[in-house]
């Protein structure tokens, strides 16, 4: 039973000044994005800056300011009381009334942000901010004196902040960036959400701290069965942490597959371009001697687009910089080319005949303890019903 099903989400930005300058119309920041998240799963949303990944996450919790932003269409079905059991009610986050949405925010779906330096209020102690979130979503802790504080302390210890009893009364400026991100995670997790939206949580941190924070997230996921939507542009992070990958470009999903399938057999030229940018450790085959191929080189090469199986039937991967095939306009279709592997194609007649169910992958790679005490993923897939 999926925890979150996003179908054909579209968000536009516009304003009076924009209409005059750019000849009218609104800018579609997200134009038909779909994804499915299962309990305990990590779905990575990958793409370059401006592809619409942050807007997708923020629009799920309706955090975008309403006059410029507008949700054009789409549904986001979220199952309350998440977890493995069925029978819980589903609500559409995009049309939920404000009061009910506030209960979901923080209590069922938590979000952590990219910039730990400014994500905490500088005039309150760290403990006060965590306690505020706890009191909001678990009001029963207020009945015992020090109840909420105990929950906050436990949350801080769980994210690995040493000497938590003393540091709970410290101010944010007394923490380093990595510690602040841990505090953010503690705040997000203090209320036991079933889904965590992590908007580039480690982009602003150095690689050692990045590894620690991601390991922490993996550990918490394993302990609680929490699902994570991990927004990032680092493919290394995706490879180590994601179960399912959703590649976005210009507001649309370009490819959607299990992480192993995506890295082994990328079908869309843009994904191949992204992967080609990662320097191989062993000199790799298929690269020019000592030189990396750029994304531009890959997507400007028509031969790359012709590699798609079914090219002779008129199937071409969707790419906004190309001329669309005759009679198609700007329409694209997310087609399941192989079982469990979706690609965005131009909506030609051939593509319209192909099956295009909504992207839905319940797979989850299990974690296993290594001898060194860390968690690592095993290669075998674990499918959920």
């Amino acid at each position: 039973m999926p925890l979150l099903e996003v179908r054909d989400l579209a968000v536009s930005f516009g304003g009076a000044d924009r209409a005059a300058a750019e000849g009218g119309g609104r800018a579609m920041a997200v134009d038909g994005a779909s994804l499915t998240v299962y309990p305990g799963q990590t779905v990575a949303v990958v793409g370059e800056s401006g592809c619409g990944k942050s807007v997708t996450a923020m629009s799920l919790l309706r955090l975008l300011p309403s006059p410029p932003a507008r949700i054009e269409r789409g549904i986001a079905l979220f199952r309350h009381g998440g977890g493995q059991g069925g029978g819980a009610a589903s609500v559409d986050l995009l049309t939920l009334p404000e009061r009910a949405l506030r209960r979901v925010r923080g209590g069922q779906i938590a979000m952590i942000f990219q910039e730990p330096m400014t994500s905490l209020n500088p005039v309150y102690t760290v403990g006060d901010q965590i306690i505020e979130a706890v009191l909001l979503h678990q009001p029963e802790t207020a009945r015992t004196p020090g109840g909420a504080r105990a929950v906050a302390l436990a949350a801080m210890e769980e994210v690995g902040i040493s000497d938590a009893a003393r540091r709970i009364d410290a101010y944010p400026h007394q923490f380093s960036g990595g510690m602040r991100q841990r505090v953010m995670i503690a705040m997000a997790l203090a209320c036991r959400p079933s889904l965590l939206l992590a908007d580039e949580p480690t982009t602003a941190l150095d690689v050692t701290v990045q590894a620690q924070v991601l390991a922490l997230l993996r550990e918490i996921q394993r302990a609680r069965g929490m699902a994570v939507v991990l927004i990032t542009h680092a493919l290394g992070v995706v490879a180590e942490n994601a179960d399912v990958v959703c590649v976005m470009y210009a507001g649309r999903v370009v490819e959607y597959a299990r992480v192993t399938d995506l890295f082994d057999r990328p079908l869309h030229p843009y994904t191949r371009g992204l992967l080609a940018c990662v320097p191989p450790l062993d000199g790799g085959s298929g690269t020019l001697a000592g030189r990396l191929r750029t994304v531009r080189e890959v997507v400007d090469d028509p031969a790359e687009f012709a590699r798609l199986v079914g090219h002779e039937r008129g199937l071409r991967p969707w790419w906004p910089w190309h001329e669309p095939p005759t009679g198609v306009g700007t329409e694209s279709r997310l087609v399941e080319m192989e079982p469990g592997h979706w690609v965005a194609l131009w909506a030609t007649s051939g593509a319209r005949e192909m099956p295009a169910p909504a992207p839905d992958l319940p797979d989850r790679f299990p974690q296993a303890e290594t001898a060194a005490g860390g968690l690592v993923r095993t290669g075998r897939l674990h499918s959920q019903g």
């Binding site: 942000f113 400014t118 003393r166």
Partner: protein, 472 residues
């Protein structure tokens, strides 16, 4: 370990430490402390009523009364008892009474607000309902004052309830005990002593601000009152008492008036700036956070109010108001109602800057309602320029009141530095130096102190001058 952690100062605590380190600001705060001390205790320190009055009756028995205490008004009682208690509570080190100093400050502020509202409402209720229904007035005042605790200043509900009840009871008691101060004939004390029938023990400065006799007209500092005619006892019968700073044109002691006027100068700041900040921050927050047409409409209102010249408005108000409303506090309310524009513009700018910050987004993502986000998260970050402006605004209000009193537009019975200053020119045009130097010096020092504190606050909060404490 926990104690040291609780000493760790937040951004405001650190800013305050920086302010206190500057010698100018430290002296300024010392002077303001002196003024506040006299504001609270002046009726006890300077009064024409004796502390203890022992009257020997015809039968030879001695009856002891305490006229000074009996003649204290409600405000006098509340301040004389409350301020020393508050000072002791705040001065306790570390984590006393189960709370940090920051929390204890919040207790004091909240109690002060409640006491102020309770006493003011009690007085109003008595005036409206009449003296007979004193109990009803007391109950109404207690309830209304208790509503002040709805303000989210103090967090813990248990402590809140205890303090609310204690302060309410104390204030209502003070209202009952405190009587209107009628016109008292102080001469009867002197006459009773002269005739030998009674003795009195006087407080430190044995003059009330309203106590004057025409034969004490414009006496220089250090002038000693001669003993009453036919006095047998030397000491207290009006004889031997000194006018330390001289007297004014109505024979009233200058030092006593100056001490009683300290209360006015403190309350000017609180009333006028408090009203101005309350109005300005509220409107500025609305303008800054919502933007759009709300901002456009309210900004026009701000511009209209900014165009009003305050001093002329006050002069007109004094002319227009009916006589019984021409109290100084009414004038302070008028000042407060037209000088909020600076606070509004600062707050608007800060809110516009802060509403895009990530901690605001994080607060909304955690599910906090809008009023919580505005009030608890954005507002404490936005008030720093308003605090600096408030300090300068208090100085301006004091000068405005002094100007009004000097022009003779203030109420005649109110002891005020400006009113004293008005007597310096004398009736014949000669210069009465002690009526110019002492009150003028007090005004000068107080305004200078507020300006120094405001400057120190501004420098302390300036992010560019702050030492970098970020570790990353």
């Amino acid at each position: 370990m926990a104690d040291r952690a609780s000493h760790r100062a937040g951004p405001w605590g650190e800013a305050w430490a920086r302010v206190v380190r500057r010698p100018g600001a430290a002296c300024a705060l010392a002077w303001l402390g002196v003024v506040a001390f006299f504001a609270a205790l002046a009726p006890v320190i300077a009064s024409g009523h004796p502390l203890v009055w022992t009257q020997r009756g015809a039968d030879g028995a001695a009856r002891r009364t305490f006229p000074l205490v009996e003649h204290l008004s409600a405000w006098d009682l509340v301040l004389a008892v409350g301020v020393p208690i508050a000072a002791v509570v705040l001065a306790l080190p570390g984590r006393a009474l189960g709370a940090t100093r920051g929390e204890r400050w919040r207790w004091v502020v909240a109690s002060g607000i409640q006491a102020g509202i309770t006493v003011a409402v009690c007085g109003l209720a008595r005036a409206v309902l009449g003296e007979a229904s004193a109990v009803t007035a007391g109950v109404i005042a207690a309830v209304v004052g208790g509503a002040g605790w709805l303000l989210p200043i103090v967090g813990r509900p248990g402590a809140r309830a205890v303090m609310a009840v204690a302060v309410a009871l104390g204030c209502v008691a003070a209202c009952h005990l405190g009587s209107r101060v009628p016109l008292v004939d102080f001469d009867r004390y002197a006459q009773a002593e002269a005739s030998g029938g009674a003795t009195g023990v006087y407080t430190l400065i044995p003059w009330s601000p309203g106590q004057g006799r025409t034969d004490w007209y414009v006496k220089p500092p250090g002038w000693r009152v001669e003993a009453e005619r036919g006095a047998a006892s030397g000491g207290g019968a009006g004889g031997g008492r000194v006018f330390v700073l001289g007297t004014d044109a109505l024979g009233r002691d200058v030092l006593s008036q100056m001490l009683h006027a300290c209360r006015l100068s403190i309350s000017i700041g609180l009333v006028s700036t408090g009203i101005a900040v309350a109005i300005g921050v509220t409107l500025g927050a609305l303008m800054g956070f919502f933007g759009g047409w709300v901002d456009a409409v309210l900004m026009r209102l701000v511009e209209v109010v900014m165009a009003i010249p305050v001093l002329f408005l006050l002069i007109v108000a004094v002319g227009v108001l009916p006589t019984e409303w021409r109290t100084t506090h009414a004038l302070m309310v008028v000042i407060g109602c037209v000088s909020w524009t600076g606070a509004a513009r600062f707050t608007r700018a800060e809110f516009m800057k802060l509403r895009g910050q990530e901690f605001v987004l994080a607060a909304r993502a955690a599910g906090l309602p809008l009023r919580s986000v505005l009030g608890r998260h954005i507002l404490p970050n936005a008030v720093t320029p308003v605090l600096v402006d408030a300090s300068f605004a208090v100085a301006a209000a004091i000068l405005a009141e002094a100007t009004l009193s000097y022009l003779g537009l203030g109420p005649p019975e109110q002891a005020s530095w400006g009113a004293l200053l008005a007597g310096a020119t004398g009736t014949v045009g000669d210069f009465v130096w002690w009526l110019a130097i002492f009150p003028g010096g007090a005004i000068f020092l107080t305004v200078l102190s507020y300006n120094l504190v405001g400057e120190a606050l501004r420098d302390a909060m300036d992010p560019r001058r702050r030492a970098r404490t970020d570790l990353a």
